[in-house]
């Protein structure tokens, strides 16, 4: 009888050691957390100097993350959650500026700059080639200059 008790005790002990323990995720719902992270990463922590809502440890950030979790559980879409935040805090809370008339310049700007740059370049090159007569120093001249410079102290 004692042997039986002892061996089952040992077995339990053994099993619990073997099952030590793959750490449990902090979040009760990892999929929800993933969504939370991706949404809050693009939002600003309003009380920090310049941190995202996702990483900030401030109290307001924790409260807002809690709100977002609730909203996700309620089945809201990403867009609805963003609207929720913007309704309360304005566009300032979004790190990805919304595309509206006041931000057209921002979003189009780089593209326009690019086109302008390439166009200016091509125009310049065309014009240049018809104007240039060679005024660059030839290799010979370069060598002479080097020699002259070396002679100086």
């Amino acid at each position: 009888m004692l042997k039986k008790i002892l061996s089952s005790l040992l077995l339990t002990l053994f099993v619990s050691i073997v099952y030590a323990d793959e750490a449990t995720p902090l979040a009760t719902d990892p999929a929800l957390e993933q969504r939370l992270i991706s949404i809050s990463e693009e939002m600003r922590c309003l009380v920090c100097q310049n941190e995202s809502l996702s990483g900030s440890r401030s109290e307001l950030a924790q409260d807002l993350r809690r709100e977002i979790r609730d909203l996700i559980r309620q089945g809201k879409t990403d867009s609805e959650i963003r609207t929720f935040m913007v309704d309360r805090y304005g566009d300032f809370i979004l790190y990805r500026p919304p595309v509206k008339p006041t931000t057209w310049l921002l979003w189009i700007g780089p593209f326009v700059l690019m086109i302008a740059g390439i166009t200016a370049l091509l125009m310049y090159l065309r014009r240049r080639n018809s104007q240039v007569n060679s005024t660059a120093l030839s290799d010979d001249e370069n060598k002479r200059i080097d020699a002259l410079l070396r002679e100086d102290k």
Binding site: L60, D63, E67, Y89, F92
Partner: protein, 176 residues
């Protein structure tokens, strides 16, 4: 052809113009999108008597002021004298929203410093604050007879703000 060389300078002057204006702005201030929108509804227990509750509905038909404060908020002490003045003036009901605070600490502070409020409501988990776009304490709202937010003060109320913004606005809203 020669004109193009002046473009960098012109662009730079425009840039400096903006930077100069920017020096006078606070890049961290978050203006409220709730101005001229209805004050979000809520119902929370009162500070003095937990069994009683408070809701903005209670004050429909009146112009009133909502002040978000807390016993742990250092800047709130700065504006306390202004709040006392506002409270005494009786131009509009002054309601406190005790934000993420402990009842005992809040009561103690009011007892010690003076209670400017007609009543204070408790926002224990900060949810009301979030709905009002609160991101720091203190913040103050002026709400009109129809329950629309007409003004938000971010940070402590100074004499200036009281005299130049709050009193005139309340008077104006009362006439309507």
């Amino acid at each position: 052809m020669k004109a193009k060389f002046i473009i960098p300078l012109l662009l730079f002057i425009v840039l400096v113009g903006f930077l100069a204006v920017g020096l006078n702005r606070d890049p961290r201030e978050v203006p409220s999108p709730l101005i001229n929108k209805p004050a979000p509804a809520f119902k929370v227990p009162q500070l003095a008597d937990e069994k009683k509750s408070f809701s903005p509905e209670d004050l429909k038909g009146q112009v009133w002021v909502l002040n978000v404060w807390a016993s742990w908020c250092v800047a709130c002490r700065e504006e306390h004298p202004m709040l006392m003045e506002l409270g005494k003036s009786q131009v509009a009901p002054l309601i406190g929203l005790d934000y993420k605070d402990k009842r005992a600490d809040a009561m103690e502070m009011l007892a010690r410093q003076g209670n400017p409020y007609n009543l204070s409501a408790m926002d224990n988990d900060g949810r009301v604050g979030i709905n009002y776009g609160v991101y720091g304490v203190p913040e103050t709202y002026v709400i009109d007879k129809a329950g629309i937010i007409r003004f938000k003060q971010i940070g402590p109320i100074t004499k200036d703000v009281l005299d130049k913004s709050i009193y005139p606005l309340i008077a104006q809203l009362n006439k309507a």
